[in-house]
Symmetry: C2
Subunit: 656 residues, 2 copies
Amino acid sequence: MASDIIAATTTTTSAALAAYSQSIASFLFRNAAFVAERICAAETSLRRIEAARLLRAHALVCAGDWNAAKQLLSQVQVALAIDPLQLDPFLKVCAKMSAFLLAKASMELGHAREAEEHLRKIMPPFNPLLYVDREGSSTHNSKHTESTKLDAAFLTCLEKYCPDDSAIFCLMGLICKQASTYSLAQQYLLQALEKNPYLWIAFEALCDMGFKVTPDIYFTDTACSNYISSIKHTTLETSVVPTKAENTIDESSSSAVPVLGPATRLRRQPSAPSNIRDTKRTKLTTATSATNAQLDPKPQPIQLQPSSLSTNSCPILKNILILAKAYLSYKQFDCAATLKIIETLCPAELNSARVAELLAKSYFEMADYRKAEEWFAKSISLEPHRVSGMDIYSSTLWHLKKQVPLSHLAHTLTETHRTSPQAWCAIGNCFSLKREHDVALKCFARAIQLDPEFTYAHTLSGHEYISMEDNEKAMQSFRTAVRCDKRHYNAWFGMGYIYLTQEKYDLAEFHLNHALQINSSNPILIVYMGLVYEKKKQTTKALDLYRRATQLRPDIPLYPFRLATLLHAMNRASEALTVLEPLVAQDPCESAVQFLLGKCLAQVGQPARAMKAFTVAQDVASGKVANSIREEIERIGGLVGVGGVEDGANVDGMEF
Amino acid sequence: MASDIIAATTTTTSAALAAYSQSIASFLFRNAAFVAERICAAETSLRRIEAARLLRAHALVCAGDWNAAKQLLSQVQVALAIDPLQLDPFLKVCAKMSAFLLAKASMELGHAREAEEHLRKIMPPFNPLLYVDREGSSTHNSKHTESTKLDAAFLTCLEKYCPDDSAIFCLMGLICKQASTYSLAQQYLLQALEKNPYLWIAFEALCDMGFKVTPDIYFTDTACSNYISSIKHTTLETSVVPTKAENTIDESSSSAVPVLGPATRLRRQPSAPSNIRDTKRTKLTTATSATNAQLDPKPQPIQLQPSSLSTNSCPILKNILILAKAYLSYKQFDCAATLKIIETLCPAELNSARVAELLAKSYFEMADYRKAEEWFAKSISLEPHRVSGMDIYSSTLWHLKKQVPLSHLAHTLTETHRTSPQAWCAIGNCFSLKREHDVALKCFARAIQLDPEFTYAHTLSGHEYISMEDNEKAMQSFRTAVRCDKRHYNAWFGMGYIYLTQEKYDLAEFHLNHALQINSSNPILIVYMGLVYEKKKQTTKALDLYRRATQLRPDIPLYPFRLATLLHAMNRASEALTVLEPLVAQDPCESAVQFLLGKCLAQVGQPARAMKAFTVAQDVASGKVANSIREEIERIGGLVGVGGVEDGANVDGMEF
């Protein structure tokens, strides 16, 4: 009779655990928390009480009640510390989940440092040798008492919500990235990616930090089969259709030890561009390196072979590989390459909003706003409620001075994503275009309030302050932007631009150079750099840059015009003429171009043709301009003052 | 070779599905969406493309991007309509998930009507006869092609996130409740509860609407085993420890048809008190009843037997049953019963924050604010980050005029739950106690903005308007409160109170009576009702009510004082004396009591003792009061003006 009751209890507890899972799956988180609470109150074994408490905390995390979850988890942590080495699989899963949930809640509450501390406790390898020994002896599974049966039911439920090692590495990497300890972030994210080729956000984060990851190593069939062998309790174990392919998987899944070989290699890889200005890192790096060394007893040989890559047999990984290559080159600002890589995608991928957005952003970085707009429009037509990239879209429309579509975009975003920073950037851009700079600033401030790490909002604020001629505050905004993202070249450009207007050419050179090192294919950056060299009388360098800009964007008349002006000033009028002639052919009604043409012609001794050009220049210049044309034109090339020319030469905006 | 590639594709897709699940479990929703997108792009079969799209939408819902999810799901819906009867299990799961996710997203966006429409499409029974036939012939599982294998992998993944019937019924019930179609809500929630005894929120919602559900029917071993037999693919199927108990479960789980018998019975049950003022209901009720009749071919006999209940063998259901009874009596405002029921809980449950909160709220409803405070304090000490019930706790402190703890509570809540209506109610109460009524009103308005259905904030606004002597707006707030929750007696009391001050005694009687019908054990309601009867010269009724209040709360001197005053006015001085004497013994320094005592003594012909009482009355009354004691006392009982007496008689606040 007593044993009957115990058996019934086991059944009911199992049913309650099933009900918990169902509640989580049905988004009934409050109910899941209630069920977990009841299981907790009815349990007699300490370990299962803790497990039930963990499940309750998990439900609270799902419901977004971070504070309550954290509070509850802080109690669990204490009890689990009884087994500090977590050799028991039950406690191991509990410890993993508990630390992971604590880290998640801490992150959401903005306590990154705390999150890191929690995760560090469960960083794989989890002393794998000892773990395997215990598994091997399997003292645990031999007893078939009700208690072990209940333990098994709990374990199955917990494992559903227990993160795998790749997720732990990934979260750790993202935390380190947020704390700007890039090299540490790199280590963790690479390990995450190695364990799981489907962990795209890890790859994205690596690219965002500027690391040149080799996609060919990670997104391969080999990586996929390694991943498969590392998973237990997944869809692959479904008993519905047992066949050869699946048996292979099951066999390999019996070895629970994670493959750690390649991690070691990558951990020792040099850590690339982020070395500059990485100040906060030192302390943390040393601490972890030591821990890793302790836990990782013997480095194993490299297992991943980049040779088998091009033979990626399945379309999913093939597509991911192409996307990865495209994203990498986009984040290296080799946007022309991105465009080429994307072409190799299958039609289904090509027709996705994500790819359209990547194309649009690539064109934006190349300052080709018209094409950027086209692709953004396509992205929106495919997914009208997309919020990703909409900040850049709004800037695109700002550059194109398209007030109506910009207003429409801002309005739509406000309706659907009121609490997204992207929406507020769009609204801000909308006001900026109307020259209501103070309102625009408030919008950008709101975006920053919603997400203080949203770099672009800081940059936009900076440009807005420039418009309001408050260089101090503009500088401050740009500095904050760079602190959020060292590779945000727009902010470096902003600072360079301010120094240029202040005639501090050395500082301007330093900052613009930094921006160019990040994005070397942006013609606006190149022309401004040329301007700085012109000011510093380093005319050869300036000429080179103007030529590069002209080559990159032959459709923008400002770049050859700047080139010709400089050539004329250097008494190289014949060269200037070869540059000017296509410009005149393109638009004969451009007063400034005609005037420069005239001066060049005069220099090379063709006074008649020069006179004709001067006359045309005076004719096409309107009203007052015509009268004061001489003085006006004399001032061309003064300081940054591209203003007059810009308007005339039909140039895209010079801001980002 | 080609077959190898296909097999490899199957494996990679399975791996991608596993990676999807892992991303969801690890809260990496953006990654899950990415993986689903890739699966979608790589798939060739239409049904699997739709399934992958569903998974992507699921990830978006998890991430809280309701708009994007809805948009994506609206596309899925179209494609699935190809098989309108959803006979195929694959399509059936897809249709269920799609509609459920759409309903969830619509609910979150505030489109309750739309949510209802989506859910209605998948309301069980799902034409179960046909479904079983198809399952029986099992034409689907006989072919072992790669395609069916892939289908199986998808199905396993989808089923993890597919809501069971109880969840669908529950969500539908909650939607109907929000739309104030209570009887329909009742039907759905009862069915949900029948299918799943662990669906506490369904029970809670039923009680909140005032339905007298019989917990003994639902929280039983029988219900639990019925639930177990209805679940497939859960923790119960774990192969780790196969034993007798589990085999039983597996056997029964093979019948996939939901038990529908008792649902029919309950659907025809009369729908109880909510009939009053249920205006919006008519249209919807008819529409659904028709649908249900169509889908439910033959009513089956009742299966649940309440006889087996008291023998609930396992502690979890035993505790849930007790909690259910306690919650039911609390929501019926039979709070004394609640207290008794709770005593029968096990110590682990008794020591939980949830139970402490229930006790605190019960005492609050009985206007015993001191005990309520004690239990709220215990609830907070157990779970410092609890937000549930904190609105009531702040009102408790308001009644007790405890400014410092109230400020502390408001401060803590603001820090941890800034966007919860409870926090803003607490802040509002804090300002209300400081008599800063306009600021308090703003706080309550913020609470309403955060959750327009948060009834208590409307009521608190009403009371605040009364303090500002704006009866019009107060009335409006109370009416809105009643619209949100018909059983919110505090709002009915507020309206009654206003009519009382306006000397509209019939209307006051109607509204106070309504409040009393809901909560008959609240002494404040009873005394006010007595006051109304006194005004209406229905002295016998008034006497009865004052006596009832005195019995309920012998510790509050106001109630017997009112009783004695009325008795004296009715020339029943000797009876008044028996009431007054314990009062005098309790606090001899109460001027008003001594004065009344004197008058009664004079009436029964004891002038010497009367004189002594008058002298004491004059002595203990301070300053001016002593001089004008006669006039002051004459006015006792005027209108609602309990003011003077209240202060003297040390009464708890009269508002809610």
